[in-house]
Amino acid sequence: EDQVTQSPEALRLQEGESSSLNCSYTVSGLRGLFWYRQDPGKGPEFLFTLYSAGEEKEKERLKATLTKKESFLHITAPKPEDSATYLCAVQAASNFGNEKLTFGTGTRLTIIP
C-alpha cells in the first residue's frame, strides 16, 4: 500500500528563518510527487511536480527536492504570507490509468512577523 508521511505536523518560524519540510513516501514505483499549498478553508494550490531522484524545482522562496525515499520543501527567508498547510502527494507507477494520488496529512506552517 502506498504511504506518505509528512513531518513535522506543525512548524512555527520567525520571518526570515529558513527551514525544511519533509515528505517520506513508500510507493511501488514513483510516477510523480506533488507539492501543494492550502490556505484555511480553500482548495489546495499546485506548487511543484517532481518525477525522479535528484530533481529540483524552485518558485520564489520555495525549493522542492526529491530522493528515492523522500522529498523536501525548503523555505528560504519566509514571509508571513507563506503561512499555510503544505501537502505532499504521490502517484505510483502501478496506478497508471488509475490516476490515484495518495496524500500526506500536511505540515501546517506559521511564519511569525
Binding site: R31, G32, F34, K42, G43, L87, K100, L101, G106
Partner: protein, 116 residues
C-alpha cells in the same frame, strides 16, 4: 489558468436528505476527481472519472455516487446524507497525463458540508 468551480462554499443539510455537489472545470480536462478532507486523515479519493459517463471508485465510495454527463461537469451525490459525511469536499481536474506537461491535479475551492 485552470479554473475549477464548485457550486457551494458552505452547505447545511439534514440527515436523510439527498445532496448534490456540483463541479465545473473550464480547461477541457478529461479527468475529474472528488475528494473529502478531514482533520488528521488528509485527502481521500471518493470517485474519479476519466471520460464522459465513465467513473471509477476511489478509496471511500460507500454512501456516494457520481454523474458525468458533460466533459466539464462532475457531480457528487449523497443519496441519503448522514452525520459522518460532514466534511470538506474538494473537486479536482487534470488533463492528459504525460511529461513534461505533468500529472498535477487542479483543485476547486471546496464545499464545507455539515449534516445535522
Amino acid at each position: 489558468d485552470v479554473k475549477v468551480t464548485q457550486s457551494s462554499r458552505y452547505l447545511v443539510k439534514r440527515t436523510g436528505e439527498k445532496v448534490f455537489l456540483e463541479c465545473v472545470q473550464d480547461m477541457d480536462h478529461e479527468n475529474m476527481f472528488w475528494y473529502r478532507q478531514d482533520p488528521g486523515l488528509g485527502l481521500r479519493l471518493i470517485y474519479f472519472s476519466y471520460d464522459v459517463k465513465m467513473k471509477e471508485k476511489g478509496d471511500i465510495p460507500e454512501g456516494y455516487s457520481v454523474s458525468r454527463e458533460k466533459k466539464e461537469r462532475f457531480s457528487l451525490i449523497l443519496e441519503s446524507a448522514s452525520t459522518n459525511q460532514t466534511s470538506m469536499y474538494l473537486c479536482a481536474s487534470r488533463g492528459t497525463s504525460g511529461r513534461p506537461r505533468g500529472n498535477e491535479q487542479f483543485f476547486g475551492p471546496g464545499t464545507r458540508l455539515t449534516v445535522l
